[in-house]
Amino acid sequence: MIEAVALSKEFDGFLAVDDVNLSIPSGSVMALLGPNGAGKTTTVRMLTSILAPTRGSARVAGYDVVQHPEAVRSSVGVLTEQHGLYERMRAVEYLDFFGQVYHMTAALRRSRALELMERFGLTFALKKQLGDYSKGMKQKLALVRAMLHDPPVLLLDEPTSAMDPQSAKLVRDAIVDLQRDKRTFLITTHNLAEAQQLADTIAIIRHGRIIANDRFENLAQQFVGEPVMELHVRDAVEPLMAEISDLVRVEEQGMHWLRYRVADPDRTNPLVVNRLVAAGAAIISLKPISKTLEEIYLQVMSEDQTEQGGIVEHLR
């Protein structure tokens, strides 16, 4: 549904996006992560046919972003970095305007607006002037605008920023529902927990280049390594260390707990438990420490930084 090949964008000699390749199949969610100024917004703008690529190509919903910009823009719903509402309009007028732009019939405009406003808990504010909306309400309305014409592709820039937890959950649920309906999402966000929760694939962009692009599990394996287990015992953990030292590599420990890294938990964990029980340990719990996207993200960024530093050093 979204295919980008060697997509690049240059502004007056500055390479904002460099050779980006993306493939997001129908019905999946990709989270595009990266620091500020990494090229996320420029990439989204190229995929919306607002900016023309300097090099490379992209197709969105089957349309080439350069050859058929209007068709591309009618196939995508865009939530921009700034919600950009017309503050003197009422929500109902605002949505009606965008519905007209997308050539929806009056009846369809009205029913879609009501349906989405209800879904996001904004029905009470339909006739309220947008200038009087709270920040979170504005963000939700901008999302309603992006979804109004029921596009097959949604490009969302920070979809839940400025929202309270309840509203953010509403939005996440909506994304999951739409994904089930085979909608395709590209989400740029700094909320890594949300990205981890929603995205099928994660792409990390830095200095305009995609430096990682894979499923979460694969990225975790690649950048953070083997799973980490955390064991809690009732008594001191120190005397038990020798019992398991040949099975696992202990990475951290406290008075009553330890963390170890293990390549094959299915095989190794029962052995560890047996040894400790045999040694008289009272095991309270043994659980995996889940890897977070934040760990992966920081690891990817740090490796890339080191690599770039090496290149610079080499060039010197």
């Binding site: 607002i50 089957g62 950009g84």
Partner: protein
């Protein structure tokens, strides 16, 4: 939408109201209909803003009353001196001013059309919709034009109603009223289309307001001219209206069309969103200019030596003048023929003395050549040609290229006129050939190239080719102008001046003597 390139990847397209298939873009009706969606929203937004509506309403409905009061008092005062005509002639002027005020105040709407929305961050969602650049541009321009024009018409109508009720004040002829309505309309259109162009090319409302001086000042000068015409026109009371005003209306309509074209060509989503600062980098500008001047091909390869530069770089720039060259040649020929025809028309004939001796003429040319040999004739001829061509280039920049086609063809118009007078007086015009062509063989191509380059420099902003931005296209045209001046025009003008001063008189004298 039957080509494979246009087919969506899967069946989801049934869910999308794809009203914007590529085949449908050309439909003028659709363009207008989409543009009007934007217009309606914008007008509604303006109407809700009391900072815009307050002054417009005040000026629309209070100023006519004030104007009528002034006109009445002024007429009564002048009656005492038997100069009623002065008071009468203020009426159309005041009618025009009543119409002009709401437009000038409403310039603020036009000036912030794009840049204001960019500042309010609401532009990107709009640019992300399937509306085409033309639809957005037309929609925005119409929304900037309609409220002030309607206010202007309303104000003028109110003033006319007052006039109808007044007993002492002179009533202008119906066609003059029509002319003033038309003048106000085209003036408003010039200002607003200009302001929309400014708005789409600046990065802040502050910059747009500063640049508005370039609109307000020329229009103010225009109003002075129109006022003078209305005061002084001998046909002010003619049933057909004032002739000069018709010419002004037509001229301004052309400017409106050009500004609309410039606005539409320069409207660019990328520049609107991409630019956030108007920075001046003279060093980079001159570096790019110098690179362009040295380039022998489109990719900017520098010439290895002067010979290669003349062999490859100069022809490249001449080729890039494109249609400007044949247009210039055609205009020059038309000027020559026009001058000849003009000279044959009775009232403009010079009635030269007939039957004079050509020997005497040849003698006087001898003395003329004597003066020329005295030293600074070459510099004088060179400087004169340089001044005219430089001025034409400068004028072209501010007149979409039209200035270039006004100044330089004047020479050919005069030449055609002179030939007609010589023919009418019974002399053979054959001596004109050596008189013109001896140096003209160099000078005429030089003038044609200079004029064509100036035309291109001014006109390129109305239609940048391909994906090039207006700034890029203008820079490329400027590079060609600089290159041609350095490589062809300055050496050519110098050589032509030397020929004209040193060789042409001798050839002409020899021709006449023979």
């Amino acid at each position: 939408m039957n080509t494979s390139a246009n087919q969506p990847l899967d069946t989801l397209d049934v869910l999308v109201p794809l009203a914007y298939g590529p085949d449908e873009r050309s439909s003028l009706r659709r363009t207008l209909s989409n543009a009007l969606i934007v217009t309606r929203r914008e007008v509604r937004d303006s109407v809700r803003d009391w900072r815009i509506m307050g002054p417009i309403l005040l000026l629309t409905f209070l100023f006519p009353f004030f104007a009528q009061f002034v006109a009445g008092r002024f007429s009564s005062y002048l009656e005492g001196f038997g100069a009623e005509i002065l008071g009468d002639r203020t009426v159309p002027f005041l009618l025009m001013v009543v119409g002009f005020f709401p437009i000038s105040i409403s310039l603020v709407i036009a000036l912030e059309t794009f840049v204001g929305e960019k500042e309010r961050r609401s532009l990107e969602p709009l640019l992300s919709t399937p509306l085409t650049n033309t639809e957005l541009y037309i929609g925005k321009t119409l929304s900037a034009i309609l409220p002030p024009l309607l206010a202007s018409y309303a104000g003028m109508s109110v003033y006319l109603l007052f006039l109808m009720g007044a007993e002492t004040v002179w009533k202008p002829p119906a066609l003059l009223i029509v002319q003033i309505f038309l003048l106000t309309t085209v003036q408003g259109l010039v200002m607003i289309t200009g302001a929309v162009v400014v708005s789409s090319q600046t990065t802040s409302t502050r910059a747009a307001n500063l640049l508005a001086s370039f609109i307000i000042i020329p229009v103010t000068v225009l109003i002075w001219i129109e006022s003078a015409i209305m005061f002084l026109a001998p046909d002010a009371e003619s049933a057909g209206g004032i002739g000069a005003l018709w010419a002004l209306i037509a001229g301004m309509m052309i400017v409106v069309l050009l500004l609309l074209r410039v606005g539409n060509s320069t409207f660019n989503r990328e520049e609107l969103l991409g630019k956030s600062l108007d920075s001046i980098n003279l060093r980079a500008f001159f570096r790019r200019l110098w690179t362009g001047v040295r380039a022998v091909d489109e990719s900017g390869t520098p010439a290895r030596n002067l010979l290669e530069w003349y062999r490859r770089s100069i022809p490249l720039s001449i080729r890039r003048l494109g249609a400007a060259l044949p247009i210039t040649v055609a205009v020059f020929l038309l000027a020559l023929i026009g001058g000849f025809i003009f000279g044959m028309v009775g009232p403009w004939q010079l009635n030269l003395p007939q039957g004079l001796s050509l020997d005497a003429a040849a003698t006087s040319i001898d003395s003329y050549t004597g003066i020329l040999f005295q030293g600074n004739a070459i510099v004088g001829i060179f400087m004169q040609n340089w001044r005219v061509l430089s001025l034409a280039s400068a004028l072209a920049v501010f007149t979409f290229g039209a200035g270039a086609l006004i100044l330089t063809p004047a020479t050919y118009l005069i030449l055609g006129f002179l030939i007609s007078q010589i023919v009418l007086a019974g002399y053979s015009p054959a001596f004109i050939v050596p008189a013109v062509l001896t140096h003209g063989i160099i000078e005429i191509p030089v003038i044609v190239i200079a004029t064509a380059a100036a035309l291109k420099l001014g006109a390129v902003i109305t239609r940048p080719s391909g994906n090039v931005t207006v700034g890029g296209a203008w820079s490329a045209a400027l590079t060609d102008v600089v290159k041609l001046w350095l490589g062809v025009l300055l050496p050519g003008l110098l050589l032509a001046a030397m020929l004209e001063a040193l060789v042409t008189p001798i050839v002409v004298a020899a021709f006449i003597s023979a």
